[in-house]
Symmetry: C3
């Protein structure tokens, strides 16, 4: 990959300054950059690091005095973090896999592959599966019976798409991602202690040991366009209807999406997030790392939940939540502040008790 | 799959009402149901949705006026959620994999397969492994050296059973489940800061950097009958004795069961639960999503822990626990309530201090 | 495996006592030990259990009266837990896989394998990958394009090493471990609600729904010597520079290490730990199970964080942290103690308010 500064700026819709014919073959942090790299000096604090490297060209913050920084050329963008998307796409070396269908892949004769589909070594594509044009089914990955993948799907090594799962275009599955595991759904012959404890908020009633029987998952998973699922993440099948993930929603590594969940569009679910069964998530929701959501909860549009938040009840649209138990973030931050002073409060109250019972001995 | 209402009710031990010869080929939620589906209207709140669909027959709640709901036939059960188990079993389309042993599977010549065992494409079965009759070893799954699986095991794609693991009958492993990873067990030459901080509850003493050496896992994993392990879950080998999972215990996705754990019968471990090493869990225990249990903790029979609970000390039988730090659920709910009022409390105490120091100026 | 007590003690640098010619073929817990086992009675509380088994020899605690315990021979070590490392190594039966290169493995012609490398059935090694001498590339595992593994790597079944990842010597990957998934990195065209809520600690400002575009991961992962990565753990690629894991750091199961993280040497990351992007972890840090670390946080050397701790701000070297929000462990334990008495505190303040407003009616 080799581009001039002018080509890059043009592709990114950014402004090229200086000797725009300078050619670069990679992008690097300022201190690591060679003369052939575009340095990423997107904030003033990176300015000094430029002198530690040998960059001739850099992506700089709006208003940077790039010539004073010793650069021959610069790319300026009003929101440099945003142009990182296009820039990183241009320079992504990819996985380096061979194109075409590897002879070791096991593809059922009834599976349908679109044009220019690549299938890596030791991948399995089951009966009736349909793979959209331009897709890459990576090494050792799996596409189940009657599953449907849209165009330009990209399955990394070991990703697994279960039977009857339907996925839109431009889907990305990271290594070992699983879509379409069975839901975790069991029932006891009689009302269980859990059912009673939920009703009473803590009392499971008379304890009677029971065994669980399995409720099979008859639904599948339906995923929109431009969705990504991270390494070791799991999206379970629905019980009767499908589990749903909306367009452009991105799921990080080690995320659990339980059966029957319906997730809207443009959401971010970060690492180790867990959604129990039948959670409904609106659009443009962000759940930070290790957030947990109890079953049957509704989360409104544009909700943001900070790292580790446990959502045990419905959350209205637009709320920014934090903590366990979850509260509005500003309230929670205040509670945290008070908790740090709680020892002093106990001492004050002890003093007050003494003072009030013996009002003449206040100290 | 096609059944009459009479056949279904009979199989479920439920009551068929109306035109019991009506035939259905699937089950659906009320609003989605066609004339060929059995609608699931198990609670009065689903009644209205029936009119949005075209169901002729439904599974209804006890006492429902099914004729008034426009149905030709109905199945009534005292606990509809329970009959969902049998019903979903009858209608489960399964994974659609071919029977028999796929030629691409790699099966060691010393492995023993019972009658009617199916082995999917690109599965591996190692030396000395024994697979019970009627088992399905799914595509790309793995059974290690000398591992034993009982009858009717079902390994989904990519499930991995390590060497010498012994599992009972009717085991289910979801995609990419791992049984028999090595325990996470390391030791420093001298007493470590962690060992000292645990003793002192917070003081790690003089800090001396040390490196860890590995303690190998010589034990295996022993799993009872009717156990299920979810996608991306891991049950680690024991150090000397085996890690044990009791009969009928169900493990959801992304669960960690550490080395030497002994889990009783009829437990539910929900998504992202983590058991550190040597945890002992009784029978009929339910750990909700993202519960964590510190190492060497004992959890009594019939304990229930709500979502996100961190159990850092032993829990007596029958307790319903919540929170971090874990308390009895009702106590914790009370603490939560007080926390929401803590700002007011600080203000009250400030007022009191003023009032007490200047008793004539109470406002 | 068969060793005399003398051989074992010699190998461990421990002291052999009694009939040091006694031969053992395994190690067991005291109650389970046969005459051919070395019993592990490393603490006085195991003494009684010895009589339930038939051990002739045991690893005992320093100062144990081994003859009174009915033993013919004993091994004494000042820190028995430490010698468990060497002992478990001696007796580890391993995975029992065949040596050599299995014909079903798919190895690219440009991959370079050192001497005595074994490759299991259905493993994939991509173009340009280099595998150090003595390595074992397990069944169904994966080594990506231009990835480098040092000497004596050991990849369990289904482990996946992505393109361009570079790993030192003696690396261990548990089943389904993933190194080199893409980072979870997205950006919106305009400043997002999350960016604003972080700045304001809770206010996301005017809500404007935006879609995310992907920032590709151009960096790789660089891992030192003697590192282990657990089952279902994920170490993501860096965005520009590499994600780094230092020498001798051990990562348990289901751990997420986000893009750009730099982890020092001799750390332990326990099960279900999550590091968001660009976290910097010093040396000799221990993060217990389910610890979470927010992005861009710095954790100093020798920090210890207890189970479930959420680190949302920088942690100075040597701190022992606990809880959510994280505090110093001793402070947090104190807060927990006060929380358990908070109901009483509210009642006291209510009493005080009554008493102060009607000072003559204190009860």
């Amino acid at each position: 990959m080799s581009y001039t500064i002018e080509q890059i700026a043009h592709a990114l819709g950014a402004t090229a300054l200086g000797d725009v014919a300078v050619t670069v073959t990679g992008v690097r942090e300022p201190a690591d950059a060679t003369a052939d790299d575009l340095a990423l000096a997107m904030k003033p604090e990176y300015a000094q690091k430029l002198s530690q490297g040998s960059a001739r060209a850099a992506l700089v913050w709006d208003g940077a005095d790039w010539q004073a920084l010793g650069l021959k050329a610069a790319i300026v963008a009003p929101r440099p973090r945003y142009v990182m998307s296009g820039l990183s796409t241009m320079f992504d070396p990819g996985q380096g896999w061979d194109e075409g269908i590897h002879p070791s892949a096991v593809i059922h004769e009834t599976a349908q592959l679109g044009e220019n589909v690549s299938v890596g070594p030791l991948a399995v594509i089951c009966a009736g599966a349909r793979i959209g044009a331009g897709s890459v089914i990576g090494p050792q990955s799996f596409v189940g019976t009657d599953a449907v993948l849209g165009e330009q799907a990209f399955l990394r090594e070991g990703a697994r798409i279960g039977a009857r799962v339907v996925i839109g275009d431009r889907f990305i599955a990271q290594p070992n991602a699983v879509v379409g595991a069975d839901g975790f759904s069991y029932v006891t012959p009689d009302v269980s202690g859990v059912e009673r404890a939920r009703q009473s908020l803590g009392d499971q009633g008379d304890i009677a040991s029971q065994s669980y029987v399995r409720i099979h998952s008859l639904g599948a998973v339906r995923i929109g366009d431009d969705v990504e699922v991270g390494a070791h993440s799991a999206v379970d099948r629905g019980t009767i209807r499908d589990t749903v993930v909306g367009d452009r929603t991105k799921i990080d590594n080690l995320v659990q999406v339980g059966h029957n969940c319906v997730i809207g569009t443009d959401c971010l679910l970060c690492g180790l997030v867990g959604l129990a069964g039948s959670v409904k998530v609106g659009n443009n929701v962000v759940l930070a790392g290790q957030v947990g959501v109890a079953d049957n909860i509704f989360i409104g549009d544009n909700v943001i939940a900070g790292g580790g938040t446990k959502l045990l009840s419905n959350v209205p649209a637009g709320r920014v939540m934090l903590g366990y138990p979850a509260m509005k973030m500003d309230t929670q931050m205040e509670v945290y502040k008070y908790l740090r002073r709680i020892k002093r409060l106990f001492a004050d109250v002890a003093d007050l008790k003494k003072a009030v019972s013996k009002p003449d001995q206040v100290d």
